[in-house]
């Protein structure tokens, strides 16, 4: 395994209480694979990603427990200095908003070069050539001529391409993409997703894709981790999640999306209520107030994540009981 995450717990201690942003998340990923972490706002999916590289603002945040094994070593035990050698180099991240992730006062060329020079001892001239190559690779036309342009001269889609070029500058083993296309239009989203897919094949890297969009995930992911209120609720391969979901949350999520391939005017399935506040998570199974199948036990006991089929995990009392009996 390239990356193995065990029982990760990240809490935030704020004035109003403890925010249990990530509460016992485990997963693993190998080369050439894409893992998607799917969840709604406040599900803890982004904090999970940030925790992997210890990028949690401390205080108020704190990684309470868990292990992140990268090539067999627990990087949570690494010193800040050693972590820096991994961040951006072996494991790179791209974020949702391409408008704020680039520094407006530096040129595009400088920023990509900076990413290269941080981790590689190469002369400036070679870094510059590499920058041109990277920008060409991510599909920026006349890349050489645009090195001295500033971020505001690029469109949103182009900026996201630059971000990807920066992330790829050190040929990382793992690329973590946090909602990489959410801020973009669909035709641009299609461009970026295609690019990401091609690049993954080319580099044989691993991708962790964080998103709320079940459509984006369907075409890209090999395995999916569904999160709700900081906890993993279902973890399985892509086909199982889409065609045989077991957790009531995954199930109703699948039924509640509008889709192009379904004709109209049927009432959508919907989940009552809203995702809970992470500061005031419901007792027992955190989904129980919104769950159609909830019974007494769901109010009282937190369900464990159990392997119900080889490689298919769910955390639901109802499913677990049904499978036992």
């Amino acid at each position: 395994m390239l990356l193995e995450v065990n029982n990760l717990r990240t809490y935030f201690y704020i004035e109003r209480g403890v925010v249990k942003a990530v509460d016992g998340v485990s997963f693993s990923i190998d080369r050439g694979e894409t893992l998607a972490i799917v969840g709604e706002s406040g599900s803890g999916k982004s904090v999970t990603a940030l925790s992997l590289l210890k990028l949690i603002p401390t205080p108020p945040g704190k990684i309470l427990e868990g292990e992140v094994f990268f090539e067999g070593e627990n990087i949570l035990d690494f010193s800040e200095k050693n972590l820096r050698k991994i961040r951006g180099n072996r494991i790179a991240m791209i974020f949702q908003d391409p408008t704020t992730s680039l520094n407006p006062v530096f040129t595009i060329g400088d920023q990509v070069m900076e990413a290269i020079l941080t981790h590689q001892r190469v002369p400036k001239k070679i870094a510059r050539e590499k920058t041109v190559k990277l920008l060409e690779m991510v599909g920026i036309p006349q890349a050489r001529g645009r090195l001295s342009d500033y971020p505001h001269q690029f469109s949103g889609g182009m900026r996201q391409r630059v971000m990807i070029a920066m992330a790829l500058s050190c040929e990382p083993d793992i690329l973590i993409a946090d909602e990489p296309t959410t801020a973009l239009d669909v035709t641009i989203q299609a461009q970026i997703l295609e690019l990401m897919g091609n690049l993954q094949k080319e580099f044989n890297s691993a991708t962790i894709l964080i998103t709320h969009d079940l459509g984006v995930v369907a075409g890209l992911a090999d395995r999916i981790l569904v999160m709700y209120a900081g906890k993993p609720v279902e973890y399985a391969d892509v086909n199982s999640i889409y065609y045989l979901p077991r957790h009531p949350y995954t199930l109703s999520l699948m039924d509640s999306v509008t889709r192009l391939d379904k004709s109209r005017k049927k009432r959508l399935q919907s989940i009552k209520g809203s995702p809970p506040s992470l500061i005031n998570i419901p007792s027992g199974c955190s989904f129980h107030p919104r769950c159609k199948f909830a019974t007494d036990i769901c109010h009282k006991e937190v369900p464990e994540l159990i392997e119900i089929k080889p490689g298919h995990f769910t955390a639901c009392h109802q499913v677990n009981n049904a499978d036992k009996g």
């Binding site: 669909v186 079940l214 459509g215 369907a218 509640s256 192009l260 005017k265 989940i271």
Partner: protein
């Protein structure tokens, strides 16, 4: 069928000005550039397009929040652009709006009761106890508890806030509601609640919707007819099924093919049309057909002659020189 709203040759150019004291016009944003459509009573008309295509500007023009450069907006057969202040104020009772951002669309310093009751107060249709009663009624109609009237917006989740926005729009019993991206800021599990609510209300109250969205899935689910906008123009306009099953404009086709489907097998089989480049600037829109710079099947004529929106089939209007079902060949 009764026509409720009719838009003819609507144009809105925003001037770009430079200078501090004496401003000079240095250019124009061609936000909406001569669009035509109508909405029948009781139907849901969808207006889709990517950011910057002019769909929200169209909504604001119909609401007369901004004045058009030229064109007409006829509501119940009369051009409301000629109305004076008082007449327009009366008309506003019949045309209401629901906004995209449930966090910015409610005044944080007013209670929910005051927000929903404001239209009643402004139009002096109900006072005191009467108003409170109506607010309660409206809250229940959108699926909220009536005690919520004394709370403030920040105490609610996104979905609940959007319900409050819907209640405010319903307060004056409008005929037409303009929904400007009403679900795109919400979580997936909450989106479906609001979509269902809008559908129920339409059935119960006989409402007409102009539904503006970039999410083609939502529009597919909710709309009777759909107009597709690109750079200030309507490029295709058709009934829901026709548009989704057999788009005649290459832009519509590529837009539809770009939308990911939450189904891994279909998704992996799907041939996607990837458009090159970005949407050009509306300040200097391309000559001829505005889509020609990105169109996979563009020919020489496309950069010279602007295609007119013409009826290709019954109820299917397309603005393309080479309009035919699924015009871009996909292998």
């Amino acid at each position: 069928m009764d026509m409720l709203l009719r838009i003819e040759n609507l144009i809105k150019y925003f001037p770009i000005k430079r200078g501090v004291m004496f401003q000079k016009e240095v250019g124009r944003v061609h936000a909406v550039d001569g669009i035509n459509f109508h909405i029948n009573k009781g139907e849901t008309f969808g207006l889709v397009g990517e950011s910057g295509c002019g769909k929200t500007t169209t909504a604001r023009l119909i609401l007369r929040l901004i004045e058009p450069t030229s064109g007409t907006v006829s509501f119940k057969g009369e051009n409301i652009l000629t109305y004076d202040k008082n007449k327009m104020r009366e008309t506003r009772r019949e045309i209401q709006v629901i906004f995209q951002d449930p966090f910015a669309s409610l005044n944080p310093r007013m209670t929910v009761g005051d927000i929903i009751g404001e239209p009643l107060l402004v139009h002096e249709v109900a006072n005191g106890f009467e108003r409170k009663k109506r607010v309660k009624e409206l809250l229940e109609m959108v699926g909220l508890e009536s005690e919520y009237a004394r709370h403030y917006p920040h105490q609610f989740s996104g979905g609940q806030r959007q319900r409050i926005g819907v209640a405010r729009a319903l307060a004056l019993n409008p005929k037409l509601i303009i929904c400007d991206e009403p679900v795109s800021a919400l979580d997936v599990s909450v989106q479906s609640q609001i979509i269902n609510l809008l559908a129920e209300l339409q059935e119960k109250l006989g409402l007409t919707y102009l539904f503006i969205a970039h999410d083609l899935g939502v529009v597919r689910h909710l709309c009777d007819r759909v107009g597709v906008m690109y750079l200030g123009k309507i490029v295709e306009l058709a009934n829901n099924n026709e548009l989704y099953n057999a788009p005649h404009h290459p832009y519509t086709q590529s837009l539809l093919s770009a939308v990911p489907i939450p189904d891994p097998k279909k998704e992996k089989k799907k041939k996607r049309i990837i458009l090159k480049g970005d949407v050009p600037s509306p300040v200097n829109p391309p000559s001829g057909c505005r889509f020609h710079t990105r169109c996979p099947i563009a020919q020489e004529i496309c950069s010279r002659v602007e295609p007119k929106l013409r009826e290709i089939m019954e109820n299917q209007w397309t603005a393309c020189h080479f309009a035919k079902p699924n015009p871009i060949p996909v292998d």
